[in-house]
Symmetry: C2
Subunit: 200 residues, 2 copies
DNA sequence: CGTATGTTATTGACAGCGTCAATTGACGTT
DNA sequence: AACGTCAATTGACGCTGTCAATAACATACG
């Protein structure tokens, strides 16, 4: 399936298509992302993307991988210089929210579009990386006796709450941005009350 | 836009198409729901659905309305005979979860597919109805001094948490059903700890 | 230096989709 | 029995994803 180019050239071209596809999706909406438009926008002929992606699903898969890695990068960047574990958790949460709000189309692709079958192995690896990054502070806080639950239990709950909150926001069910932030504060306080055993 | 049939006949036919479309979507997946397949499955010719729905978006809109009303009906049914407000809240939450798990395609259509523009007026009415049903127990519990927050603040947080939890489950990120139920319990306890001021 | 080979990129083609315009056909009214 | 009305069908168009056949082009070899 991968063409006979050198490994580097092939990933380079794939990245080119992925970036172009993301640009289309984020500027014109998910429905506007068509393989033909991708091809012509990339200055290439209609079926050329098929040399680098088996089908449209494979393209979306590559876009998801790119997105998760971008989010992981942003997380790693964000916690540089932040020492307290609980503060790191808050920063990671803020990074997640910022990512969701500033890149809504990509966020929807990552977290709100049903993955039909099982995830591909590279996509699984990308999500695993993100999981590891976000789990580390929770693990350390748990080890330090600050958190009441270990990451494998705390993580899903936090993720669920934040993600659900964002979805309600994007559905316009929370009113304006001020109302959103208030709900966010409520959620924050309730989660803190439920999980933090002692101040950090 | 509505054809010149009697009002009753028209809604009857629309319901027929909506039910047929739901059957297709829930048995063959969302992607398999095409207007042409809907027509032939309904034993009618290709473009007949266009006499009753302006376009595919209008059909999906009608399906959403149907779905919200089905969920509202289930909620009303579920709290019959349940007196304590907090217990009602729990029952409504369970109804929501059951609905999401037993009718995943419809659930995704209702809560996980981006509504492009603003909602249509009838759809808004259907969601309002559901909102009212779920808000009532929270309001009464709040009035009775049991809840720490009024419905307009508590509701979104609970909804966010439950919805996010379900989405993570459907993404396969929570492992098997036993793990899901454990996370659900964690979420329950944390929310209770955060919101319930006194035992009911 | 010219030719042969392999592989990238393009064009052609097909089925299926959403959608609209023109046509058919049944049925109540006069 | 002729007419008018309107639900329903068929035909057609542009678009999509996708595959097969073709062209262009670089590289290796005589």
């Amino acid at each position: 399936m991968p063409p006979g180019l050198s490994e580097d050239e092939i990933v380079e071209k794939r990245d080119l298509f992925v970036n172009c596809a993301l640009k289309i999706m984020e500027s014109e909406g998910s429905d506007a992302l068509t393989l033909r438009k991708l091809a012509t926008t990339a200055g290439v002929s209609r079926t050329t993307p098929y040399l680098y992606f088996k089908d449209k699903a494979a393209l979306l898969d590559a876009m998801r991988i790119h997105g998760f890695n971008a989010l992981s990068d942003a997380c790693e960047q964000a916690i540089i210089g932040v020492e307290k574990h609980v503060k790191q958790m808050r920063v990671l949460g803020e990074t997640y929210v910022t990512f969701a709000i500033t890149r809504p189309a990509l966020y929807r692709l990552l977290f709100m579009s049903g993955v039909d079958g099982d995830m591909s192995e590279p996509l699984r690896a990308a999500t695993d990386r993100y999981n590891k990054i976000t789990s580390a502070p929770m693990q350390k806080a748990y080890d330090a006796g600050i958190m009441a639950l270990p990451p494998e239990r705390l993580g899903p709950v936090l993720w669920a709450a934040i993600h659900g909150l964002l979805e309600l926001r994007s559905a316009g069910l929370l009113g304006d941005d001020q109302a959103f932030e208030e709900v966010q504060r409520n959620l924050n306080s309730v989660l803190a009350k439920g999980f933090v055993k002692k101040a950090d």
